[in-house]
Every structure is written in structure tokens, then in C-alpha cells.
């Protein structure tokens, strides 16, 4: 430092830009994404604290009464509860059902997407990086998996493991991992020809380090696109499995199962049974994706100056 200069009366002390702060402030750049994050946080909190905030335990058959079935929004049921969003055919309070259903849907959607992503991306990277027989074997496995109908897979798992949320997650992972693998491999195949990978190889870095520290970050953008969409797809697929009677147990409905149940009542004007869970599902997925979009833009090293 100079000896003569007076301490500079800087106009504003420059903020210390830790990477995290930078990340946060860049994320908050988009008001929409920020709003989505707030909404998603609320949803997640509602899901976590479901037992404390919902008017009814929708999983307890003992408190349900079919005589309260299909009440319109705002009706008061036999138990004295006001059903602000109406009830379903079993007399289940829709609001409670939705709050609990969010829980199941988030566990199923996010859980299966994350696990499938970890498995799929690793295998995809390995396939692209190793090439040769490894690539062939993994990709044929992908072919096998992609052509295997989710429904049959779910049915087999049902037969082997029985019903349950965890088993639905397993079924979805089995169905979904191949998407990640295929997507990552496509990008990684191009990336691995790049010079920086050669450089890393010359340095004799261990394979896993090259894969995950060098190759993966550069395959990230398409992966995040597919990933955030797959959360939505997993939730929707769970709904479809439930629609086909292969999803979560009927007494512990997810949003998808609520929609599937109410679907049959759409024609007769009892819209609320599937409409409100549908709206809840929509808001959840839209917020996840808006957050995901912004994350992708912020995290993408190549979009930075």
C-alpha cells in the first residue's frame, strides 16, 4: 500500500462477493423466480407440517364418512368440519387431502427424479467417457429400459414388493434413469472430444474426477432442463400409475391419485374433486420449474461473463 495516500473515503464499501452471495443475488435477479421460490417454500412447508395444519387426517378411515362424500366447497360435514374445498367420494376433506397429497407427490416426484438423475447421469457419463464395450453395454441397457413400459414395470414391482410409496419411487427410478443417461451421454460424447478433457487425461487425473469435476459440469445445462421436467413428469407418471390402479395406496392418495379419483366426476360437474388437486399440482410443478429455470441460468458457467 502507498505510504502517502490518505485512507480513501470510498463511496460505498465494496461488498464482499462470496460465491454464495453472488449466487443468491443472481438468483434473486428474477422476480418471477423469487416468487416461485417463495411459493415452493410454502408448499414444502405445508407438506412437511401437514399433520398440524390440515383440518382432518385424510388417511384415517375412521374419521371419514361416505355420507359426507362429494360435498360442495364450503359445505359443513357431519363431523362439523367446514370443507372449504369440498370432499371427495369417500368424504375426505379435499383441503386436507391436498396438503397430505402434496407430501406424497413431492416425495415421489423429487425423490425419484433425484435418484434417477444420480444413477442415470453417472451411467451416461461413464458410457460416453469409457466408450467401447462399456458404452455398448450401458446403452443397450438404456434401450431395454426405455422400451419397457412403465406400467408393466410398476405391475412387476407391485407383484414383487407390494404396494407403497417407496415402491412407486423405485418403479419410477427404474423407468426414468434411462432418460438421464441418454441425455447426458449425448452431450458428454461431444464434450469429451474437447481439449480440456484431453488435458485432464494427460494430467492422469482419476477417472471419477474427470467424470464428475470436468465432464459433468459441462453436461449440466441439458441435464437440469431434463431434470426439472422429469420431476414434473415423475409426478404426472405417478398420477398415471394411480389412474391405472398401480400407484400409491388408495387410502393415502397423492395429488395424482386425487385427480384420478375426481376425474370420473368431471362430467357430472363435481369439478372440485379433481380441479383443486389439479391446481395444486400445477402450482407445484410451475414453481419447481421456474426455480429450476433460474437455477440453470445462474449455475450455468457458460452463461456467465
Amino acid at each position: 500500500m502507498s505510504t502517502t495516500a490518505l485512507p480513501a473515503p470510498a463511496p460505498a464499501p465494496p461488498r464482499v462477493e462470496t460465491p454464495f452471495r453472488r449466487f443468491v443475488s443472481e438468483f434473486c435477479e428474477s422476480k418471477v423466480a423469487l416468487g416461485a421460490l417463495v411459493v415452493f417454500t410454502l408448499i414444502a412447508l405445508a407438506a412437511i407440517f401437514a399433520p398440524w395444519i390440515s383440518p382432518q387426517d385424510p388417511y384415517d378411515l375412521g374419521v371419514l364418512d361416505i355420507m359426507d362424500g362429494r360435498l360442495e366447497p364450503g359445505s359443513v360435514g357431519a363431523t362439523g368440519i367446514t370443507h372449504w374445498l369440498g370432499t371427495d367420494d369417500q368424504g375426505r376433506d379435499m383441503l386436507s387431502g391436498i396438503i397430505y397429497g402434496l407430501r406424497i407427490s413431492l416425495i415421489v416426484g423429487a425423490g425419484s427424479a433425484i435418484i434417477a438423475c444420480l444413477v442415470g447421469a453417472s451411467l451416461g457419463l461413464l458410457a460416453a467417457y469409457a466408450g467401447g464395450r462399456t458404452d455398448g453395454a450401458i446403452m443397450r441397457l438404456v434401450d431395454l429400459q426405455l422400451s419397457f413400459p412403465a406400467i408393466l414395470a410398476a405391475l412387476m414391482i407391485l407383484a414383487f414388493l407390494g404396494k407403497g410409496v417407496l415402491n412407486v419411487v423405485i418403479a419410477l427410478v427404474i423407468v426414468e434413469w434411462a432418460y438421464y443417461a441418454r441425455t447426458v451421454r449425448g452431450t458428454a460424447l461431444v464434450e469429451r472430444r474437447r481439449e480440456y478433457i484431453e488435458a485432464a487425461q494427460c494430467l492422469a487425473l482419476p477417472t471419477h474426477r474427470i467424470l464428475f469435476r470436468h465432464l459433468l459440469p459441462n453436461c449440466l445445462p441439458p441435464l437440469i432442463v431434463v431434470g426439472t421436467m422429469q420431476v414434473a413428469r415423475a409426478i404426472a407418471l405417478e398420477a398415471t400409475l394411480s389412474f391405472l390402479g398401480l400407484g400409491v395406496p388408495i387410502t393415502e392418495p397423492s395429488l395424482g391419485l386425487l385427480i384420478a379419483n375426481g376425474y370420473e366426476y368431471m362430467l357430472s360437474g363435481k369439478y372440485w374433486i379433481s380441479f383443486y388437486p389439479g391446481i395444486a399440482l400445477l402450482i407445484t410443478i410451475v414453481s419447481i420449474n421456474l426455480v429450476g429455470d433460474q437455477l440453470r441460468d445462474v449455475l450455468n458457467p457458460r452463461l456467465k461473463k
Binding site: L61, I66, Q90, L158, A159, K163, E264
Partner: protein
């Protein structure tokens, strides 16, 4: 000046369209027809399709009572010989005359249809010989007196020896061999999608109202209703109960309903003796009980009393069912009179449970299919609610029929929901559901709870050789009453079969669930 001819043409065209529309009928059924071979696969949709193309010796009316078909009359000439007088002047679609020889050919074909996943052989098995007395008289010889033979004949569609001697199932499916004596002939068949039919103008019976029929399969319930509302189809069957509220008030639609022959009931675990654990019954802490409470008739009665059947019928079934105490609906042969459905009595149920030594109740899992019967998964949840309220904490497990039926067949469950579509004769459910499992007699094939009562078996056996209808009915009623007192199964309700047509049409609703084009007529012509 140019306008006039154009308008005239347009008017003509409009008339033609109206005429064509009046002549054409589009029907949508919920269950796919899998074959046009009338002896390939015992399946209601196939029987419905066959009924439009072929005829049976003994026909059934809409309430499943036997009426003359290709046979004008039938009687036992000896205790073990049935004689059928055949209808004269009946011709097959290809012009061949129908004669007794064709009956003999048909009976001979039943056990010999290659690859059949469920054949009609059981209807041929009691018959030891078919004797052609003359072209219009045929005799069936059986080893023992066999009162059910006319009933069996309602399941057998008659083929023509000359036409079908070498026909394979493929020939029928392709339409080449789908030649019968029935009201319609096949124009084309696209498997699993549609059958196009055209009126048989030489039909012996009542002339069908529509010249051409497009028989479509739309398996998704909501889509089927939507297709009707959109005007794309004229008739739908298996109207989902969830749409009833709307359709009942819709001016464009007419509903036709009839109480059917299908009972929805709960089966209970009789497979484990009283001193063993039933797989899905535990005490309130989830520990094994050490005994099977379902072997105690008081527990079974309590479980039945806990169920509010009226609530299920009204709330879950939207009125499309009647509460039941037995397999056959009122007005059917061998229906047990003076046996009303068990009344809902939660307090009484709790008392009975306490008497049986379960004042705190126990835990049970109620299983059921979710894609087989109308609202099956909803019903088990409703029953779960009701049982839980008397202290039997119930977990509900719904699964697809494919996995359910395999486990139910192995007697894997403690309690399960299932249905049974009866022939209109008490011996049918008795032999299949309530009789002790016995391979040699072919009994208890669907007795998935393994209920067994020697007296019921004895009466059932007795009924099978009793040729006097009135005496036989009394025996059957006695057997059914015994099984009901014993709570061998817990009957819930008998389904109502519902069709919806566009306004201006009517369909004769059938208890046997079959959807047939000849039953549809313009409303005015009724």
C-alpha cells in the same frame, strides 16, 4: 334462380342423411370383444357379440328367464334324456338350413376348440350322447338326471356343420366363418376396435330396427360417456355411476336400468383353522392374535352388521345397486324369500364382537381389486370406514385384478371383496362359491375363502339330480339360507346394469349384462 335446385338437392341430401341415420346405429361397449368364435372364450362381451350373429337353442329374456330360441320346446323324455324340438324354416346367413345335425355338430365342437383359454366344454361334459331323432328333433343323453341342461344350452350358440366343419377361430375372427342364424351378419371386424354388422333380412325372429350397426369398443368410462354426449355414438353400456347424476337430468339422454345378477360380496378367511393366525388379522398392537377370529360366526355376523349397505348403495353406487342378502335378486328362480339384507347395527355389532371375546376389536386388512367391479376400490374403503367404527381397525389394499386374483386364488387374504355373476339358478353360486372345494365334483372352483359346510354340500348335491323344478327350488333355498345364517360370505349389493342411449332410442336392459344391437329400438316403436 340457381338457388332452388341447390336447395332441393340439399333438402334431399338432408333427408337421405336423416334416413341413413335412422338406419344406422353406433354402439359403444366398455369391454372389448376378443373373438367372434362363439366357442373360443367364455366372456360376456364375446357372448354379446355372438348373440347378434348366432342363436341358442334356449334363449333368455331380459330378466334371464329361459324362452324358446332355436328350440321351440324341451322336456325330459326319460330321467336322463332331454328332448328338444327345433324351430323349422330357420336358415343360416349363407342360406344353409338349420337342422338337428347342426346341434350335434355344435355340441361335438365345444371341447375341441384349439388354444381356448376358457372353453365351453363344461356345457358338453354332462352330455354322453346327442341323438338326431329327425331333422327337427334332437335328444341329449346324460349319465344322471340333469335338470340344468336347458340352462346350459343358453350358453351354447349353434353353428352349421356344412359351413363350420373346418372353420378355425381365425376364420371366425376374420368374419369369413362368422355365419349364424342370428339377427345380424358380420360386415367387418377390427379386433379390439369395432365390429360392423348388417341386418339379416331373413331372420326368423323379430326384425331388428337398424339396418347397419357399428359396434365400437371404448374401454375408458369417461370417454364412452363423452362419446355419447358428443353425439358420436347412440348407445353406451356400463354407464359409470359417477356420470349418473348428470345423465339422469340430461335431456339428450335416456337411461335403461335393470337389477342384474352380479352380487358384490366380501369373502372371509376360512382356510385357517380357528386356532391359527389369519395372515392379515392382528391385535390392536399389530401382534398376531394366535387364532382366527373369522372362524367365529359372531365375528362374521358383527362384520356384516357393521356395514351400512344402504349408505354404500346410495353414496358409493349412486343408486345403481340394491342391498343384498343373497346371490340372486328378487323374482329369480331359487331366490330366498323373507331374507332381507342384514340391517345396519353398529351397536349390535360391537356387542357381538365383545361376546366373541374382542371387546377392543382387532386389526384387519381388507383387500380388493381396483379395476374389476363397479367402484370396487371405493366400496372397500367405505367398508373400511364402517368396520373401523366398530373397533375393527381396517387397512384397505386395492390392487389390479391381475395380481389380486392370483393371491385370492391362493387364499392369501383374510378378507376380500369380489363379485359373482350368477346364472339364474341357486345351484350356480352354491356349487362355485359356497361348496367345499372338490376337484372331482368340480365344486368350489371360486370358493376363495374356503368356506365349507357339509349340510350345504349335501343339499347342493341333492338339487343337482332333482328334476322337479318346484322341489328343486325348495332345496336350493334351504341350502342358501343355511349358508347365509352361517355368514359364509358377506353379501353387499347386487349391481344394477345401466345403459344410456341418445333420446329417441331405447334399449331393453338385460340382467345378464349383454349389450346387443337387436335390443335397441326407436323409442316410439316401443
Amino acid at each position: 334462380m340457381m338457388m332452388k335446385p341447390i336447395m332441393a338437392v340439399a333438402a334431399c341430401f338432408g333427408l337421405l342423411c336423416a334416413e341413413a341415420r335412422a338406419q344406422n346405429l353406433t354402439m359403444a361397449v366398455g369391454a372389448p370383444v376378443t373373438s367372434l368364435d362363439p366357442h373360443y372364450h367364455q366372456l360376456s362381451p364375446n357372448n354379446a357379440a355372438s348373440d347378434m350373429i348366432f342363436d341358442r337353442l334356449v334363449d333368455t329374456d331380459s330378466r334371464s328367464r329361459n324362452i324358446p330360441g332355436l328350440a321351440l320346446s324341451w322336456t325330459t323324455v326319460e330321467p336322463n334324456v332331454w328332448e328338444f324340438k327345433l324351430r323349422p324354416n330357420v336358415r343360416f346367413h349363407n342360406g344353409n338350413p338349420f337342422v338337428a345335425e347342426d346341434v350335434a355338430f355344435t355340441i361335438a365342437r365345444l371341447p375341441n376348440v384349439p388354444n381356448s383359454p376358457s372353453s365351453y366344454a363344461i356345457y358338453a361334459r354332462p352330455i354322453t350322447a346327442v341323438e338326431v331323432v329327425d331333422p327337427l328333433t334332437v335328444r341329449f343323453r346324460t349319465t344322471e338326471p340333469y335338470p340344468l341342461l336347458p340352462l346350459d344350452m343358453t350358453n351354447v350358440r349353434i353353428l352349421n356343420r356344412a359351413t363350420h366343419e373346418r372353420s378355425t377361430t381365425d376364420d371366425f375372427n376374420a368374419g369369413r366363418a362368422a355365419i349364424g342364424t342370428g339377427p345380424y351378419r358380420v360386415v367387418s371386424h377390427r379386433m379390439g376396435d369395432r365390429i360392423e354388422l348388417e341386418r339379416n333380412d331373413t331372420y326368423w325372429g323379430e326384425r331388428p330396427a337398424f339396418g347397419r350397426v357399428n359396434y365400437r369398443m371404448i374401454t375408458n368410462d369417461a370417454s364412452r360417456t363423452a362419446a355419447l354426449l358428443a353425439g358420436d355414438v347412440d348407445v353406451i353400456d356400463q354407464v359409470p355411476t359417477s356420470d349418473l347424476a348428470r345423465l339422469r337430468t340430461d335431456q339428450r339422454v335416456t337411461l335403461s336400468e335393470i337389477v342384474g345378477l352380479r352380487l358384490i360380496f366380501l369373502g372371509l378367511d376360512f382356510a385357517r383353522p380357528a386356532g391359527e393366525n389369519s395372515p392379515f388379522v392382528t391385535d390392536n398392537n399389530g401382534q398376531p392374535l394366535g387364532r382366527n377370529p373369522l372362524q367365529d360366526v359372531r365375528v362374521r355376523r358383527a362384520l356384516s352388521m357393521a356395514i351400512d349397505r344402504r349408505a354404500i348403495v346410495e353414496r358409493v353406487m349412486e343408486g345403481a345397486a340394491v342391498p343384498a342378502s343373497q346371490f340372486l335378486p328378487e323374482g329369480t328362480y331359487s331366490h330366498v324369500p323373507d331374507m332381507p339384507p342384514t340391517a345396519y347395527d353398529a351397536d349390535g355389532a360391537r356387542r357381538l364382537l365383545a361376546e366373541a371375546g374382542y371387546p377392543q376389536g382387532f386389526r384387519i386388512t381388507l383387500a380388493g381389486p381396483n379395476d374389476r367391479y363397479i367402484n370396487d376400490a371405493r366400496i372397500i374403503q367405505a367398508v373400511g370406514q364402517m368396520w373401523t367404527r366398530i373397533g375393527v381397525r381396517t387397512t384397505v389394499e386395492a390392487q389390479p385384478w391381475t395380481t389380486f386374483v392370483a393371491r385370492a386364488g391362493r387364499a392369501d387374504f383374510s378378507a376380500f371383496l369380489i363379485g359373482w355373476g350368477s346364472n339364474p339358478d341357486g345351484s350356480h353360486p352354491l356349487r362355485n362359491i359356497l361348496a367345499t372345494v372338490n376337484r372331482d365334483r368340480g365344486w368350489g372352483a371360486s370358493n376363495r375363502g374356503r368356506y365349507s359346510n357339509a349340510r350345504v354340500d349335501e343339499l347342493t348335491l341333492q338339487s343337482l339330480s332333482e328334476l322337479n323344478d318346484a322341489r328343486r327350488e325348495q332345496i336350493l333355498i334351504q341350502a342358501q339360507r343355511l349358508a347365509a345364517d352361517d355368514v359364509g360370505v358377506i353379501p353387499l349389493h347386487i349391481q344394477t346394469n345401466i345403459w344410456a342411449t341418445r333420446r329417441g332410442l331405447t334399449i331393453a336392459a338385460r340382467a345378464d349384462e349383454l349389450t346387443r344391437a337387436q335390443d335397441v329400438r326407436p323409442a316410439a316403436a316401443r
